[in-house]
């Protein structure tokens, strides 16, 4: 036991002991493995077994962010069941069709899994509890109001009788759901709000967790693919005689912009597709390069007559007459998602006219839609098998979630057999929907007290909405591209924000933290340049500008306090600070660094604070904040997708470099939920980290860093 007690960091002994005896590790024993018991569906979300097991349905995807556990905690909290008897099941998207959208939206994007569904899933839990209590009360012929619930046991104090949920589940399922449901005060939570162990841990440390890429079917063949290297290009021809003697090859499938080779094993398919001579019609974009794109965006920074998102006061007039102005241009490159599980999809056409599909996703309904569209089958004839997703980060739920599904359907149809399509890492990195390239030109005027009196911002970049949701574009304005600027809470009397939409042929999409990832860097780094020019402490500078924004101010102060802002650091170490709001939450970061001889920073420690309103699982929140640090440091230090001859130059992790463990700083996170609202977790954590780091570099060197990645700083994007 000593060994385990030493490992106990997060209450796992307590959780384990409750499961029952022995060296339990808090592993959840799925009820499916126990003796089969009769299950009663109380409502769409809650199924209670005669053995008291509780199955909670989860409509959102689990891609690492912990939503599966957090959503189950919310339902279980209101249900009042025994948490150790809870297991979960992903919702079959067909049920959302046949049950009239009872599961709401299934898209797991925008850090919205919990905040967008918390009310209806909590109501489902509360409603189920009321039905179970009502069933017990009827059996006892007492008032439900005189019954109490604790950990799945209903009791009637006056008579001393008890019944478990399992004993009344069948009767409860027949009761009409209540029309009035009152939710618990979060201050009284005992399951939600706690750092419960994730329900997917035991599978994920034993190699048993099931991802779509792991599916194996009788008679299944494997496909590898080569897509047009130049975006927008089409397949012209290929020379199949090159594969005449290739072992294991069963079929070559031509697609409009790709060729797939189907073989007995994935390795044979991959080897064959690489050996296949292919010619492409490049479609006219084969001369585009990073340099031509930089010129295009630079022209956007200088363009006249672009749409204006915000215009407070008279920026031009104040800037023209100001004693002191500061101007800077910032640039960020395209970035790829590079989720660890490469894009894959397995498709099986069945003799009875149905279709089975497996694919990693952030939106099971989108997979269903893509499979229906590309197969021509009715959605109800398509079974989307749900699995964990090996990362997502926006690639599997955003701009075009269906590309790999469409391909797999076409390939399986042509092959006449079940086919598993797996993209190589090179295909993944070269055929992404990239975090858009973007540039900002900012000019500010400082008053006699050093505080900004005018702030003009022009952003030039490739609109995500122009392809993901064109209806959201009005007069060439993509409001989302200007987030943190059009809604900037710093109190500056004259503010102008405008946008030059400069769309290229490179596909863009949602990349974790989306436009916050670029604009936090632009805004917060430039703000530090202003504080630096004013000779003021950047934390105190922000505090003065946030006097009308109490939530942003509170999280900034919490972060500064946790980071001991103002206390001396060892010689050669420097701090930087930044704050943002986004995805319904408020976040701040402090970076502590020293400078390496080669001009790159050594990051010693990141301290972060987040106010998500309510903290459903504080440990899962910390995990997301820690992960956001690694995500964002990869991008800031190394991340860059470049274009040459119309195509992506990087192909794998050798040239698209990732942060490794040796560069991971110590991370401390303070969670400061202030209540009254529901904020997201997956994306608010990253954006403030980059400018905190950049601002620490400014403190260390006195020089701003106006383009990323840092390893290329000083050069143009």
């Amino acid at each position: 036991m000593n060994k385990i007690m030493k490992l106990d960091r997060r209450n796992f002994l307590k959780a384990g002991a409750a499961v029952g005896g022995g060296l339990m590790l808090g592993f959840h024993i799925p009820a499916a493995n126990a003796a089969p018991a009769k299950n009663a569906e109380i409502n769409a979300w809650v199924v209670v077994g005669a053995d008291d097991s509780v199955l909670i349905r989860v409509a959102h995807s689990e891609m690492g962010q912990g939503a599966m556990t957090g959503l189950a905690q919310l339902v279980a909290e209101e249900l009042g069941c025994d948490w150790n008897k809870v297991r979960t099941e992903f919702v079959d998207p067909r049920l959302n069709i046949t049950r009239n959208k009872v599961y709401g939206g299934m898209a797991t994007v925008g850090s919205r899994a919990i905040r967008s569904s918390q009310e209806y899933v909590r109501k489902a839990g509360a409603s189920a509890r009321m039905m179970l209590v009502s069933a017990a009360a009827s059996r006892w012929k007492v008032s439900a109001a005189d019954c109490a619930v604790k950990e799945g046991v209903i009791s009637h104090a006056a008579s001393g009788r008890t019944l478990t949920y399992g004993a009344v589940a069948e009767a409860a399922a027949k009761i009409a759901p209540p029309t009035q449901v009152t939710l618990k005060d979060p201050a009284t939570w005992t399951i939600a709000g706690q750092p419960k162990m994730r329900l997917d841990m035991d599978e994920k440390v034993t190699g048993k967790a099931f991802y779509a890429i792991d599916v194996r079917l009788d008679g299944m063949l494997y496909a590898a693919i080569a897509q047009s290297p130049v975006f927008g290009g089409k397949l012209k021809s290929y020379d199949e005689t090159a594969l005449k003697n290739a072992k294991g090859v069963r079929k070559i499938v031509a697609l409009p912009n790709a060729v797939a080779v189907v073989a007995d094993s994935y390795w044979e398919a991959q080897k064959a597709v690489r050996a296949l001579p292919i010619e492409w019609n490049n479609g006219g974009n084969e001369k585009v390069s990073s340099a031509s794109i930089a010129t295009f965006l630079g022209e956007g920074l200088a363009a006249k007559d672009v749409p204006v998102a915000r215009n407070d006061g008279d920026v031009e007039k104040v800037l023209a007459s100001a004693a002191k102005t500061i101007s800077a241009e910032y640039r960020v490159p395209y970035l790829s998602h590079a989720a660890m599980e490469p894009m894959n999809c397995t498709v099986r056409f069945n003799a009875d006219g149905t279709l089975d599909v497996w694919a990693p996703t952030q939106n099971a309904e989108a997979i269903l839609g893509a499979a229906a569209r590309s197969s021509g089958l009715e959605p109800l004839k398509i079974n989307v098998h749900l699995s964990y997703s090996g990362g997502g980060f926006g690639r599997r739920g955003g701009a075009a979630p269906g590309d790999y599904v469409d391909q797999a359907v076409a390939i399986a149809k042509a092959a006449g057999a079940p086919v598993k399509l797996v993209w190589s890492r090179e295909e993944d990195i070269q055929h992404d929907f990239y975090r858009p390239i973007s540039s900002a030109k900012m000019t500010a005027a400082l008053g006699a007290d050093g505080m900004p009196v005018a702030w003009n911002t022009r952003i030039s970049g490739h609109s995500i909405m122009s392809t993901a949701n064109p209806a959201a574009i009005k007069n060439n304005m993509d409001q989302g591209f200007l987030v943190l600027f059009h809604d900037n809470v710093y109190d500056v009397p004259n503010v102008k924000v405008d946008y030059a939409m400069r769309n290229t042929h490179v596909p863009v999409g949602y990349w974790r933290s989306v436009n916050h990832s670029q604009n936090a860097y632009f805004r917060e780094s430039f703000l530090d340049e202003l504080a630096h020019a004013a000779g003021q402490d950047p934390y105190e500078y922000r505090r003065k500008l946030l006097h009308k924004a109490p939530k942003q101010l509170a999280v900034l102060e919490a972060c500064a306090k946790a980071a001991d802002w103002g206390k001396p650091l060892p010689t050669g170490q420097f701090r930087g600070i930044a704050q943002i709001d986004g995805y319904g939450s408020y976040a701040a970061a402090v970076a502590e660094i020293s400078m390496n001889a080669d001009g790159t920073p050594h990051v010693h420690r990141i301290v972060q604070a987040i106010d998500p309103g309510y903290a459903v699982n504080p440990d899962a929140i910390k995990a997301q904040m820690e992960g956001s640090v690694a995500w964002t440091l990869s991008a800031a230090l190394y991340g860059e997708i470049t274009i040459k001859d119309g195509r992506v130059e990087q192909g794998n992790f050798d040239r698209y470099r990732m942060l490794l463990l040796n560069k991971m700083p110590k991370v401390e996170t303070v969670v400061v939920p202030s209540g009254g609202f529901w904020g997201g977790i997956g994306e608010p954590g990253g954006p403030a980290v980059v400018p905190a780091l950049i601002n620490a570099m400014l403190a260390a060197t006195g020089k701003p860093t106006r383009s990323l990645p840092i390893i290329k700083r000083g050069t143009t994007v």
Partner: protein, 148 residues
């Protein structure tokens, strides 16, 4: 036929000698715990052990491992009872989990030769890519195991 010793069990496989061990494990033998991430030995999702040494199976031809004792995540322990697995649960290390089989196999190999690694030794040995960014917890969990 190539004879392989995997997790203490003998397997005879009829595959091309050039086929990487990763695909023999996954496609031929159906051992799906070892993952494909990059195919060029950069990310470490496919890490297994050959005679206890961490090895990236995606770039290791099966013909080169016929004489070795191969250990995969399935051979570490089936029930999560290995000290690394316990520490991983206690620290809630995995997020998406996809890289963790390889991460755990690399950590196990490190701890065999260096039972009490420093941060620098951990950083030098554990070069697996985790896009979810579980590195800080990986490091903390390793130190906890080492201090038991």
């Amino acid at each position: 036929m190539i004879n392989l010793n995997i997790n203490g069990k003998e397997h005879a496989v009829d595959v091309d000698p050039d086929m990487p061990l990763l695909w023999v494990l996954r496609d031929t033998l159906g051992m799906m715990g070892t993952k494909f991430g990059c195919g060029i030995a950069q990310c470490g999702s496919c890490t297994v052990q050959l005679d206890g040494v961490a090895t990236r199976a995606c770039a290791t031809p099966v013909s080169a491992v016929a004489s070795a004792k191969i250990t995969t995540i399935e051979g570490l322990s089936a029930d999560g009872s290995h000290p690394i697995q316990k520490a991983w649960v206690a620290h809630q290390v995995p997020q998406c989990g996809y890289c963790q089989s390889g991460m755990i196999m690399a950590v196990d190999a490190l701890l065999k030769t260096t039972p009490k690694p420093t941060d620098a030794e951990i950083g030098a040995a554990i070069t697996n890519i985790c896009r979810c960014g579980t590195y800080a917890r990986v490091r903390d969990a390793i130190h906890d195991i080492a201090n038991v």
